[in-house]
Assembly symmetry: C2
Homo-oligomer: 254 residues x 2
Amino acid sequence: MPALSKNRIKYIRSLDLKKIRKEEKVFLAEGPKLVGDLLEYFPCSFLAATTSWLQGHPFVQADEIAEVNAEDLSRASLLKTPQQVLAIFRQSDYELDKSIIKDSLCLALDDIQDPGNLGTIIRLADWFGIEHIICSPNTVDVYNPKTIQATMGGIARVKVYYTPLPDLIKSLGDTPIYGTLLNGDNMYSQRLSRNGLIIMGNEGNGISKEVESLITRKLYIPNYPQSRETSESLNVAIATAVVCAEFRRQAAWK
Amino acid sequence: MPALSKNRIKYIRSLDLKKIRKEEKVFLAEGPKLVGDLLEYFPCSFLAATTSWLQGHPFVQADEIAEVNAEDLSRASLLKTPQQVLAIFRQSDYELDKSIIKDSLCLALDDIQDPGNLGTIIRLADWFGIEHIICSPNTVDVYNPKTIQATMGGIARVKVYYTPLPDLIKSLGDTPIYGTLLNGDNMYSQRLSRNGLIIMGNEGNGISKEVESLITRKLYIPNYPQSRETSESLNVAIATAVVCAEFRRQAAWK
């Protein structure tokens, strides 16, 4: 079994850097479940796996396949606990078609910074049938390895775009633009649509002033027992989930 | 300004280890918002802060206070981006009174492993007015620094207990015991109570067989568009949030 070369290991590990990922137009994914999911959706340029994983996947397609031992895998891996297989996939370049926002429910993320939060949001969007997420240019890179791992495969089905949000929103006409704000209306008392954009803001600063001014449907997630005096808040991925669940409850179960 | 001694820095950093935290019956918290919140609720045995933080908090109470520079703080800190203040607090030892589960809504966590997930669950429990969380003995330690940071202060208001779940549940009589399971009933079609226990399971394996057999109200979080054939799943903190939100919606807004 040929070992992975030092250069190869260095290259794999360098995919932790956005600059390198952007130049190479690739991203890294690790683990049998995730790699297995992504192989169906993204072209794979390189795959390294243990003998037993490869035996279980005789028809795997990749430009290059390396059979490696656990030691090599752990040297190349960015995970605390390396797992059987890692793969390098080519990034997808999606064109945003604005009519999808007029016709279906989409998410917009205004400067989300934490890669785990972005990955978790992609995973829950997948669960709630939200297929398009539009990010402000300063939102963390979707191809960050921590994001990819946290999507648990959701990245295969959810399309993520980067574009300035104010211009996008201004071009949407009367499509409803939702945002959660402390001075919003209790979302349980609102009729929520099956289309439009739900905007979620940065972890520390929330939604930016300019984007906030473009929100046409301000929502509030009530806490319990209800009091707006509270100093508590919700993590942005948690807030996104609770809001998306309510949109979908009203669409399907109300 | 006296520097922190090497031994002191070593001691602070050792609080990343459960063994040391348990022996010392303390935990570490960092950052102005979190430390500020916790100072109102937990006795503080040691606090290290920059001059400017201390000037803004002239009445801070701690057994020992050290004025430190940014360099010392960053040597002692477990965070990637150290912040102005860190503090060591004494752990609280709560006695579980079972009548609270009969009278109010509580969470039970069956072997949650990720410290960030536990912290996020404590934070959202705080938001939804759930004041008691009962963990199986193998659930990650609530005093793990990553958990404490993720609670964003929720640990001050939410009480966390560790006890074997099967014995606890068996002692609760006809108190409703909820769990989310793939073969459960759509939670939107169920009448949810204001008391009882909601059980959430391990990240990889879900709820253990023995605990599952004791669930009296099996719930299912519907995805959208609905199909149980899906391979997707929700992160455990996300699932907890969506379930708790629905319990509270029914209690307050239905």
